[in-house]
């Protein structure tokens, strides 16, 4: 089959018929659409919401101001981790989500490099803290295994000989996040869902039968909305005349040239967990190193609150490089291929926001997953669908309730740094 012939045939037929499909803008009308559910955001969270909502029988439309995976999902590493969370609501959600990911993988097909590669958390100095964390996680249902130097070397032959202890987390998994979002949405469309890209939400208003979302050339009338706009979820909330404090936390990832396999799991320094929980605006880095199917090695992770500054930062790049080579000396010769950054959406208490808005009925939020968006997306998508349809939730949703930020706020107060 020759794609070129196929589409050049299309070229001819379009030319013959004299042109373009009728453009709504040309006539000055706004096109209207109706649905049970409108999802704002075609990243991984929006994709998972679409997947579960459609399966639950909701007529669903997804819109995005750009196209699929244009936001943080496009800068993600693809982490599906339980090892970086201590016992609590987020870990509970992560454990469920991790298993759900593999269900979604079965359903959609093996097309986004989903693999249960496992994680290894290592310690240089504070071994007791590392082991204590593992014990705490183990009680909450995480599978952990203590590693001494010999066992560590067996799992990671190239790790620096200075590292003597580690914990193995076999449940940690990996995927290619942009492909995942795209494939899940492709599957969603195949089964009757609809996606409209380049639709920026201008305004969200209520009417008797539900909510109306207006964009530049369309009006979407719907019973429910899921705000899955990630780092920009606060902005969407504003346009619905409500409030959601989601802020950007910039992170960098270094990508090496394709290498022989030197790293077999996700490997991280044990202060990765503390890093996530911290509130420091200043730069924090901790080492996370992992290989990918294509042979490149990804190195993270850094966290900074610098608004939406997309520029490169040489101190960050150098620090990450230094930490990675101290963990894996073999990487000294690795060529740095590129660096990219993205903005993790985080909320003041570092927990995602999953639930119905306390001011605007029918508007649900599913955002603020910080650096765990990929991993938590499956369970978030299923949970929010359950909340919308009134089914039994897969866990107690209270810790994620938007109301916790909205109780004492008045409408229209800006809560997002842009």
């Amino acid at each position: 089959m020759n794609s070129a012939n196929v589409h050049s045939a299309k070229v001819h037929s379009l030319k013959a018929s004299g042109g373009k499909a009728p453009s709504p803008r040309a006539t000055g009308d706004l096109v209207s659409h109706e649905s049970d559910l409108l999802i704002i955001g075609a990243g991984i969270v929006g994709a998972m919401c679409a997947h579960f909502a459609r399966a639950a029988g909701l007529k669903t439309i997804v819109i995005d101001r750009n196209s699929v995976a244009s936001g943080t999902t496009g800068a993600g590493e693809g982490n599906i981790m339980v090892s970086d969370k201590s016992a609590g609501a987020e870990l509970e959600l992560a454990l469920i989500s991790r298993d759900l990911w593999f269900d979604v993988g079965m359903d959609v097909g093996d097309s986004f490099e989903l693999v249960a590669k496992g994680g290894v958390s290592v310690a240089r100095h504070n071994q007791s803290e590392l082991f204590a964390l593992a014990a705490n996680q183990s009680k909450a249902g995480v599978v952990t295994r203590e590693l001494n130097a010999a066992e560590l070397k067996k799992l990671e032959p190239f790790i620096s000989p200075e590292i003597k202890f580690g914990i193995h987390y076999p449940q940690d998994a990996q995927c290619q996040p942009m492909l995942a979002a795209a494939r899940i949405l492709e599957n969603f469309v195949k089964r009757g869902g609809k996606i409209y890209s380049h639709q920026e939400v201008l305004e969200i208003t209520s009417f008797d039968a539900g909510l109306k979302v207006r964009t530049h050339d369309a009006i979407f009338a719907t019973r429910y909305i899921i705000n899955a706009a990630g780092t920009w979820a606060g902005e969407i909330a504003k346009r619905a005349d409500t409030y959601l404090p989601i802020m950007p936390r910039r992170g960098f990832i270094l990508v090496t040239a394709p290498l022989p396999q030197y790293v077999f799991h996700k490997v991280y320094d044990s202060d990765y967990v503390d890093n996530v929980a911290s509130d420091d605006a200043d730069l924090q880095t901790s080492t996370v190193v992992e290989g990918t199917k294509s042979g490149t090695i990804l190195i993270g992770a850094s966290r900074e609150r610098v608004g939406y500054d997309k520029s490169m930062s040489v101190p960050v790049i150098k620090k990450l490089a230094r930490q990675a080579t101290s963990l894996f000396p073999v990487l000294q010769q690795a060529q740095l291929l590129r660096v990219y950054n993205g903005f993790r959406p985080y909320s003041p208490d570092h927990l995602p926001v999953i639930g119905e808005d306390s001011k605007v009925p029918g508007l649900f939020h599913c955002a603020g997953h910080e650096g765990a968006g990929i991993g938590l997306s499956a369970a978030s998508g299923k949970l929010i669908t359950q909340l919308i349809t009134g089914q039994d939730p897969l866990m107690n949703p209270r810790p994620f309730s938007p109301a916790r930020f909205q109780e004492s706020r008045t409408a229209g107060v800006a809560g997002v740094h842009v």
Partner: protein, 457 residues
């Protein structure tokens, strides 16, 4: 005044020549082992074609950094810190002003089996001929489009003559050979170009260079592990294939479809870029200033135009850097630049690349050489996964994520996604348009090769 010049080709050297007169402290960076850029490729220890440039290349007032990779440039507001790496370590130097003169790379178009050994760019053939006195084969075809084929042919024939080797050489040009009238104003204003063109015509006749016009190579044919020939097809005026292809034997194929500006350093610095004749170029004002204070750009990065235009632009940038606002020299340089630009733009009218090159492709043709991404994967990413730009196609297929970071494929991937987006199923509301923002599409955060070890120091 400390000035950093990125690129030691014609534009960079012309600027250095002016700046040295004004007593500036000059740092020049180039990834090659010596200056000259791509245009003045010459053997080690031989002179530059023009004495004034060989003089400057030996000037000790200039701090030359060769064989380095400028991987980042920090804007210190004011001033800049240039990070460069090479030979196992990374260093940096702080300057007050920067001139971007990083030139262009060759534009290539894919065809079946173009990744085979024995198929190379016309520039590669010229490089190994001029720098290493090596011929790529004995039966050589130069295929593509544009003015580069003749100088390369001449280099190869000259080398063959010097070394007593017999070669056969043919040129395959996608466009008609009778399109030169489209640049009459350019030739009138630049009579030396007209003479040069006539010279090549005469040379081709004298050396019996076979020239096939309105044709293109559609496939490289392999035999016993080596290229044994190519399939050639005729093209119509819109560069679509007409008729059947035929076989031409050869043992080396050099291909080139012109040049495209190198946006690596411009995108690292974040200077404003625009599209000019479908190429992303750095936008500059009349004084070669970019959108960032204290940053100038000269040469091919502002638009493909040849080495003489690069020299004019380098000179004007330098004069502006040292504060010369008027005078005969500047006026003369401006006039030269104007007439040379007219010629360069005219060349674009003679040898434009029509996006119908996409209709030559088959599903299995490799588009991204580094990551081995084929045509069908890119088309599918648009039609099935919602990719609407080179950037999103890259995220879904890996095209452009390899070692060359899209230098050879991004342009082509952009053309493919644009074409497929335009004619793929309308997604409900309006004809999808592809995203084409020069500033987003050409971001490459790391300038060149730097190892983690070099960064760790």
């Amino acid at each position: 005044m400390k000035i950093g010049i990125i690129g030691a080709g014609p534009a960079g050297l012309a600027a250095a020549r002016e700046l040295v007169k004004a007593d500036c402290e000059i740092f020049v960076f180039d990834s090659n082992a010596r200056s000259g850029g791509q245009y003045w490729r010459h053997q080690k220890n031989t002179e530059f074609p023009e004495k004034k440039y060989s003089d400057i290349s030996r000037d000790s007032r200039i701090q030359w950094h060769f064989h380095v990779s400028v991987w980042q440039i920090e804007n210190l507001n004011p001033g800049f810190r240039i990070h460069y790496s090479g030979n196992g370590s990374s260093s940096s130097v702080e300057v007050e002003k920067i001139l971007i003169a990083t030139g262009s790379s060759e534009r290539t178009l894919p065809f079946k089996n173009w990744t085979l050994p024995g198929v190379m760019t016309a520039g590669a053939a010229q490089t190994i001929a001029k720098e290493h006195r090596l011929l790529p084969g004995s039966s050589i075809l130069i295929a593509g489009s544009g003015v580069f084929a003749m100088p390369v042919a001449k280099s190869l024939i000259t080398l063959a003559g010097d070394t007593g080797i017999t070669i056969e050489l043919g040129i395959i040009e996608a466009r008609s050979l009778i399109r030169w009238w489209r640049n009459i104003p350019g030739f009138i204003l630049n009579p030396s170009k007209a003479i040069e063109a006539l010279g090549y015509l005469a040379y081709a006749k004298k050396k019996r260079i076979k020239r096939i016009s309105r044709s293109t190579v559609t496939e490289a044919v392999l035999k016993d592990g080596q290229i044994s020939g190519v399939r050639v097809a005729r093209l119509d005026r819109e560069m679509k294939i007409v008729g059947d292809s035929y076989l031409l034997p050869c043992d080396a194929l050099a291909t080139s479809f012109g040049f495209t500006p190198d946006m690596t350093i411009p995108s690292i610095m974040g200077v404003h870029r625009v599209f000019k004749n479908s190429d992303a170029v750095v936008e500059v004002d009349d004084n070669q200033r970019t959108s960032i204070i204290d940053v100038w750009a000269a040469g091919e990065v502002t638009g493909i135009g040849g080495h003489e235009l690069s020299i004019s632009e380098g000179r004007i940038a330098a004069l502006n850097i040292v504060g010369i606002r008027g005078g005969v020299r500047l006026a003369f340089a401006r006039w030269k630049r104007l007439r040379q630009r007219i010629f360069a733009d005219g060349l674009g009218r003679i040898y434009p690349i029509d996006s119908n090159w996409i209709t030559w492709q088959e599903d299995s043709v490799v588009i991204c050489r580094c990551e081995e991404v084929v045509f069908k994967e890119i088309v599918d990413s648009v039609n099935h996964l919602g990719a609407d730009s080179a950037r999103s196609a890259k995220l879904f297929t890996r095209a452009g994520m390899g070692l060359c970071q899209g230098r050879f494929c991004q342009r082509n991937v952009q053309d493919i996604t644009e074409r497929c987006t335009k004619f793929s199923g309308v997604d409900g509301l309006k004809e999808r348009t592809s995203v084409k923002d020069a500033n987003r599409e050409t971001v490459r955060p790391i300038g060149g090769v730097v190892t983690l070890g070099e960064l760790s120091d």
